[in-house]
């Protein structure tokens, strides 16, 4: 398969040899982790166990342990779900859409972003299951001929969610694993330790770098990218249907699907930049994941952030333009009501601060971009919070109007999901190559044959 790898940017700050690349990327797997790593792991896994404790508490005492009430039935659970699904989208965008767009720079960050996709979907999938309070009944969501002759309601957006998220997880996992197979083979061939070799042999499936395999492999990679591209768009569209298909003012809106997809990519890229900034430093990969990569991602953050800002404006405009009093009330109430603090946090973090990325200096400065992306992470969480809570807390029956106060357990589970995510990321960085070795080798200067004396 011939891809048009037109030269677009310098991939490496200094051109490395292939062996050096291998050595550098597999260093975390060849050496013993440092004390700092264990401290970090201890920290994140304690957060994770805190979250599990809170989840156990919820199961034992019921959903009453959360801040949810009759009016605001979704609260933190669904906010976290939408937040994490959104984070996941960046990985697929980088691995699939940028692949189809022939963006070579994706190679350096694709593996890590895909891993983040998988972990974020794991975190996301947790919430719809636990927010029912009886997660062991989740099996009924799968259409199988059971003794009660009970089928899922296939026309409910909540059921679409089940299919969308589980398909997304499966496809992302297969896509990721497909990319990992050749790298596992590399690790297998360089492993000295017997156990390590056994594990990598198992996962590499006996890959031989054969060109007869590469041919099908590249085609399959293309097919997967082609499947994952509409899939990633559909997943957040379906998630937005959870809201848009309801008749609640503030939710019932046709702008939701594109608005959610843009927001998802926005928050996902912010999370990827957050993690990459730390990771490239810790593992000395500044020459592979360069400032150029980060700058490109910051540009995408700027673009999607502006799209999200446009959506906020449009929401307000449409509620005025529609002439529906309840819609207008909700829009005004969002900006100036009980949840004004959350709304303006959202707007400033998502629309205002990313605008600093218009300046090249900010785009290329590690500390500044780190601050901005952290703010974006916060803002995108609050965006979902505002959508869910502020729309629900004033429903059609004024006697049930109320305010949402999260409980300690709510916060525990939110923190726990971050703990789970970063624990998985930390384990991943030590067990698998964080950069796709066989992909990155293919784009090193001189790695490809020069046809007819260099003419491509």
């Amino acid at each position: 398969m011939s891809l048009d790898y037109s030269k677009d940017m310098v991939q490496f700050t200094k051109e490395p040899k292939l062996v050096e690349l291998d050595n550098l990327i597999s260093k975390p797997m060849d050496t013993n982790p440092s004390r700092k790593y264990f401290i970090a792991l201890a920290f994140t896994s304690s957060l994770m166990f805190l979250g599990f404790l809170c989840i156990g508490y919820t199961f034992y005492f019921g959903i009453g342990a959360w801040g949810n009430n009759q009016t605001i039935a979704w609260g933190f659970g669904i906010t976290n779900f939408v937040f994490w699904v959104g984070i996941a989208h960046a990985g697929t965008l980088i691995s699939a859409i940028l692949y189809l767009l022939r963006q070579r720079w994706r190679n350096a960050i694709a593996r890590f972003a895909e891993a983040m996709t998988i972990f974020a979907v794991i975190c996301a999938g947790l919430f719809p299951i636990i927010h029912t309070g009886r997660p062991w009944l989740a099996g009924y969501l799968i259409p199988y001929p059971n003794s009660m002759n009970l089928w899922p309601n296939f026309i409910s957006p909540l059921d679409w969610d089940v299919f969308a998220v589980s398909t997304y997880f499966t496809v992302s996992l297969l896509f990721w694993y497909l990319g990992l197979v050749p790298d596992f083979a590399i690790l297998r061939d360089r492993a000295k330790d017997r156990i390590k070799k056994l594990i990598y042999t198992f996962f590499s499936l006996g890959w031989r770098h054969s060109n007869r395999h590469w041919r099908d492999y590249e085609k399959a990679y293309m097919v997967f990218a082609g499947l994952a591209t509409p899939l990633v768009l559909s997943v957040h569209t379906v998630v937005s249907f959870d809201f848009a298909a309801a008749i609640l003012p503030g939710w019932h809106s046709t702008i939701f699907p594109p608005y959610f997809v843009a927001g998802a990519i926005f928050s996902g890229f912010a999370m990827v930049v957050t993690a990459l900034v730390v990771m490239r430093k810790v593992f000395d990969m500044e020459n592979i994941i360069t400032l150029n990569h980060l700058e490109k991602m910051n540009k995408i953050i700027l673009l999607t952030g502006s799209m999200v800002g446009y959506a906020y404006l449009m929401e307000a405009f449409i509620s005025w333009y529609s002439g529906v009093p309840t819609e207008q009330y909700v829009a005004v109430n969002r900006a100036f009501g009980n949840y004004a603090w959350a709304y303006w946090t959202t707007v400033s973090c998502n629309v205002f601060f990313p605008q600093f990325f218009w300046f090249k200096k900010v785009r290329r400065s590690i500390p500044l971009m780190f601050i901005v992306v952290l703010l974006v992470n916060v803002g995108m969480w609050f965006e979902r919070y505002v959508i869910i809570v502020s729309s629900l807390h004033r429903d059609f029956l004024p006697s049930s109007w109320t305010y949402f106060t999260p409980s300690v357990i709510d916060f525990g589970i939110l923190i726990g999901s971050f703990g789970l995510f970063f624990t998985l990321v930390l384990i991943f960085t030590r067990t698998m190559p964080v950069i796709a070795m066989s992909e990155i080798k293919g784009i090193v200067e001189g790695a490809q044959p020069s046809h007819d004396g260099g003419a491509h």
Partner: protein, 387 residues
Amino acid sequence: MARSNNLHSVAAIFDTPNKIIKAAEKVRDEGYNKFDVNTPYPLHGMDKAMGLSSSKVGFVTLFCGLFGGSFILLFMWWTLAKNYQLFIGGKPFFALPAFIPITFEITVLIGAVSTFIALIAVFFKLPFNNHPLHDTDYMKTVSVDKYGIYITTEDPKFDKEKIISLFKSLGAVSTDLIYLPKQEKFSMFNLKFVLFLIFVAAGTSGSTYLLLNKLMYITPFDWMEFQEKYTPQETSLFFGDRRSMRTPVDGTVAKGFIPYPYKGIANPTEVLSNPTIPTEDLLKMGKKKYLTFCSPCHGNFAEGDSRLNGQFPNGPTLHSDKIIKYSDGMLYHIITNGQNAMPAYDLQITRHERWAIVDYIRVLQRAKNAKNSDLVEIKKESTTNGQ
């Protein structure tokens, strides 16, 4: 891996992409076809150099994806529109737009999973950890930064010396002879293996037992079996009389059970008058109730032909002169109050239904004693109905 003396292939290592492409072209041109190239990453133009056609894996995705999509669409139609219809706000059982999201997701899911399985199992024929190339220096070099080519002994034109000199002439860094691994045999009754099987069996059955018999009965997995409430007949520690079921306040009237004031009185005929108008609907209802409640003892046409075969005193015929002469109120009273062996029906049959039964009994009685004038009446009716 222990090696045997049987040759598998002759391999050569090249150090630049250009050389390996040349080598592959040359080998193909020489007429070899059981050869393969191993490169650490896919090389552009190698498929052409080796003379490979383009990959067919896309067809798997296409067919399986289409199959998955149409299957789930049919399946959803069958479950929601055929097998178990769900009434949701009067919406149609099957309206295509609402089924598109899942159809799409399943198309992608089946397409991706089948592509993956086909790729690994059919196209790659993996897992294959016994391949002679594994664990050779050749493999370890090509997986890092060199480019290798090998021709197997299966090739009809295979000739060891000729191939080595061909590789050398193409500028190979080194050539290698790769031998087949020794066949290893594993016995079924290897102690370790048997112990492993026993361990797995014990583990599986133990955890299944714990899951189904213990875990499912621990809060919160116990399906809310234990709740903070009284079950019927339970002792109460709260009330003085130790009864959790409270008796109603004196004079409480259950809904629909207005007390009957003539309970036990012999003949309250004068006060009870029939409040109903015998419309066709009412008579139909009366018939239904009569067949349900009265016919077992009094017969389908009230002729006293009980179906009970003597297990209970036969109900008498309701066509006797005595009963024809009874007032409607008397019949109502007998149903409500019972009479001798006949039980009271005030709890099973509502007041309205009781009057409907009375009206229906009158119909039966009239039918038994029809006069000629009735026939004239019926004829008139059927002609007006156009029959």
